[in-house]
């Protein structure tokens, strides 16, 4: 009988332990990697079609579309990893446009030598985060570069989100008199990554604040808040986000530094390292520019979510004086003001 006869390799190929250039070569190894790892982890019908493009049903209304690349070192840090970051970062950019995440893409640039186990853990983390965001990864790409030509793994994600009718969340709607609300304490991500990357031993572990912001943002809309603009705090922290808005709108933003929530751990680390916490990275915080008469409601709405329990009013959009267009000022605990300016590059620890 030959009915149940199948050809098979007498010694099954052992599962690879590291990524090699062949995994990006377009051959069997690459197909296996894509099928076994990515398509399995991101499991959804549009991806399973394995077409050159994902075919997505077009919903009515306006779309938000964004992309971002992730090059964090180390790949895994307290409170997250490059995978969770690559999903949250892009989903959060959609949320800042008032959009509900819909579809995502994922392109991986992998340095040969990366352990498959590490890659699998990161892909699982992406899949879990995407599921939590109710967004499907429907298309992707894989490239492998030679050893020494990457930093383990770079990820690019793009996202499409749906903007519900009636929402208009853009910098140009920010107006003098608006109140600036922050969703929680700042600086955790930057200090968490720096403490691992630079081998700083603090007495306690500071975890990244890496988190999906769609839910707290939807709570604001659900409470009827007319969010003029939203901006998530990323690489340059609160300071850079505010300066971007001020320079885009040519308005004057004034914040009360004593009102900005900062944990004792982050403050302590910043004091030791000589960093300004206003410019330390976050990955799960945002600011909302809301009409002054809705500020209290906005803070109350955010308090109902675990990611918003630390929400506070931190400042206002001031009436513009001719010499203060496009500026952000900060009021110190002593009642004096300083101009916030972007650091030239990354903040560097000071020596004394």
């Amino acid at each position: 009988m030959v009915d149940n006869f199948t050809l098979s390799c007498p010694t099954p190929r052992p599962r690879d332990s590291i990524v090699t250039l062949s995994h990006g070569g377009g051959g069997r190894l690459m197909k296996d990697l894509v099928d076994d790892l990515f398509i399995t982890a991101f499991n959804n019908p549009e991806l399973a079609e394995k077409h050159d493009s994902a075919r997505v049903a077009a919903p009515g209304g306006r779309l938000a579309f964004t992309t971002d690349s992730y090059v964090v070192n180390p790949l895994v840090f307290p409170g997250g990893d490059i995978g969770s970051l690559a999903i949250t970062g892009t989903v959060n950019d959609l949320a800042m446009a008032g959009a509900v995440p819909h579809r995502l893409s994922c392109a991986m640039i992998i340095e040969e030598g990366l352990r498959i186990e590490t890659l699998a853990a990161i892909v699982d983390s992406m899949a879990a985060t995407a599921a939590a965001a109710r967004a499907c990864v429907v298309t992707g790409d894989t490239k492998v570069v030679e050893h020494g030509k990457g930093d383990g793994l770079y990820i690019n994600t793009a996202g499409i989100g749906l903007i519900p009718t009636g929402r208009e969340v853009v910098p140009r709607r920010v107006t003098a008199g608006d109140t600036i609300v922050i969703s929680g304490d700042i600086g955790r991500h930057g200090i968490a990554v720096m403490s691992v990357r630079e081998g700083l031993a603090f007495e306690t572990t500071i975890e990244s604040d890496c988190a999906l912001l769609t839910e707290p943002v939807e709570l604001l809309f659900g409470a009827g808040i007319d969010c003029h603009c939203l901006r998530d705090l990323t690489r340059g922290g609160l300071g850079a986000a505010l300066i971007e808005i001020a320079e885009t709108t040519m308005l004057h933003l004034d914040i009360d530094e004593t009102a900005v929530p900062i944990s004792g751990q982050v403050r302590g680390a910043c004091e030791i390292l000589g960093l300004d916490p206003l410019f330390v990275a976050c990955e799960g915080r945002f600011v909302a520019f809301v009409p002054a008469d809705q500020a209290v409601h906005a803070v109350d709405a955010l308090h109902r979510h675990a990611l918003g329990v630390g929400a506070k009013v931190v400042g206002t959009v001031a009436a513009v004086q001719p010499d203060e267009r496009g500026l952000v000022t900060s009021r110190s605990s002593l009642g004096t003001r300083r101009v916030l300016d972007l650091p030239v590059g990354d903040q560097l620890p000071r020596i004394c």
Partner: protein, 370 residues
Amino acid sequence: MKYVDEYRDSELVDTIAERLRRITTSHWRIMEICGGQTHAILRFGIDELLPSGIELVHGPGCPVCVTPAALIDKACSIAVLDNVIFCSFGDMLRVPGSHADLLEVKSQGGDVRMVYSPLDAVTLARENPQREVVFFAIGFETTAPASAAAVHQAEQEKLSNFSILVSQVLVPPAIEAILSSTHNLVQGFLAPGHVCTVTGYEDYAALVRRFNVPIVVTGFEPLDIMHGIYLTIQQLESGRAEIENQYTRSVRPRGNEIARQMIERVFQAASFSWRGVGEIPRSGLRLREAYAQFDAERRFGMESYTTPDDPQCIAGAVLQGVRKPPDCSLFGSHCTPGHPVGAPMVSAEGACAAYYRYRRVPRRRSDNSQ
């Protein structure tokens, strides 16, 4: 946050500001020596709280700023070598020499690493026996004990692949140079609290006696600085010139004996050319002959290299307190933190960078400042 918030208490700061207004009858010019103090003054707007009779001028106490371009050029020349791991404190990486900074060397393939302690560089030397590990030892007496300890440790471990490029400077000779200048306008000094934590303040007492000028050892928080200014003004208004210690929670009269001994064991005083200021006798440190094998300048044959300062820049006058950053024609136009010409524009502690960051627009004084 404990040990920080107490020293940023606005009511106490206001109380001192009020007392200062009561006792200040003349115009007084006070110099804070340390860049950390300059940074705090501008970050917290402390000068806005002072009566108009008190003028603060910013001293030469930013170690990054006063490191001469020639030494940075040497650092870049060493860092670019294939077999070298070049280690530096973070804020030194962006300081330009005459043609490049260490971040540029790194971007072109140099193995430049940021470390938080000189002893981290010793660890790198131990872990990389086939490579030369060089530490850029910059700073005042605050960093000197750790630099000395690194050299001492390397000697104990017989690490032949470790060396340091020395740019260690001393505060008292710089104050002496300022007071000896015929252009001097400074009438009182806030001495640097962290330096004095290491050295104590006997050398400063000698300066007080010689030049009849008040010197108050001062900390770095707003309340410390206001208190230091208050003690200085009290002396000036009553015609006294004494050494006083405001920063008693950290500074002892003779400092930290162990740290001083470590400096003494490894280093000796030497002439040093301050960027923007020029040569000041016995104002720097160099390795003693017994430790000469750890001298990177000797190891890499760079002892004779020199670079002149930019002639247009008034950094020297700024660092001596004779002029202020906005007096410079290059300030804010040709010279910015992104493209610094003069050294004080480079580090966040530099007077020009601090002015650029916090003072680009005319500011309203706070209501209680007059």
